[in-house]
Amino acid sequence: MTFKELNAVVSLLGSIIAGIWLANDLMAAGGLEAGVSAAAVKLLWVIGFLVIFNIVGMILAVILASILRGEEVKDEATDERDRLVSAKALGNGYLVASIGMLGTLVAFAMGWEATPAIHVLFGGALLAGAIEAGSRLVYYRIG
């Protein structure tokens, strides 16, 4: 597995873990009863988790992969295939993010409170990140 594939795996894993935690939090009693400010603080913590998870996860993944392979796993310069994979994966992620944005507007239109609506928006962005990372992995592995 290459450095770029490892990066996609770590990003995907981070999104999945954050998504599961968020879903559990929402299903817990009172998960949606907090105000918008409290919800925003919680979601900012999730973003912070994702940033740290990606950094630490990549360091650990590279060390582990290097040990298993017996040689250092290095990042290579980006070429035309990397740019194409990135563009296609971003396109997929953008589509999901747009659907999340649409879902948020629909939620507001249906009279939802701001707290659940902000979770729909964040959930859409989180899913978009997961789809983008998953797409990168699929395009690199399968083509």
Binding site: K4, R81, K88
Partner: protein
């Protein structure tokens, strides 16, 4: 990657063998792409740009048609 990729074949493996078992890494360096991209091209999972196709052909010192071949789909061939 991309529509119609299956109708494009290549002889990179043979050409590498004929070039003194040139490594994928060496070819990648000559063509200005990553080794993973050479692997993907060789396996038919990625069709390179014209520029990279010409660079690969240049690395072997052969015309690009000797490296890449395109077979029209049945419907296209009938036209």
């Amino acid at each position: 990657m991309g529509k119609g990729q299956s109708s494009i074949t290549n002889t990179i493996r043979v050409l590498r063998f004929n070039a003194g078992e040139m490594t994928q890494a060496a070819l990648a360096e000559k063509a200005g792409v990553t080794r993973q991209t050479i692997v993907a091209i060789e396996q038919g999972r990625y069709s390179p740009s014209l520029e990279v196709a010409f660079r690969i052909a240049h690395a072997f010192g052969v015309p690009v048609t000797e490296v890449f071949q395109w077979t029209p789909d049945r419907g296209e061939a009938d036209q």
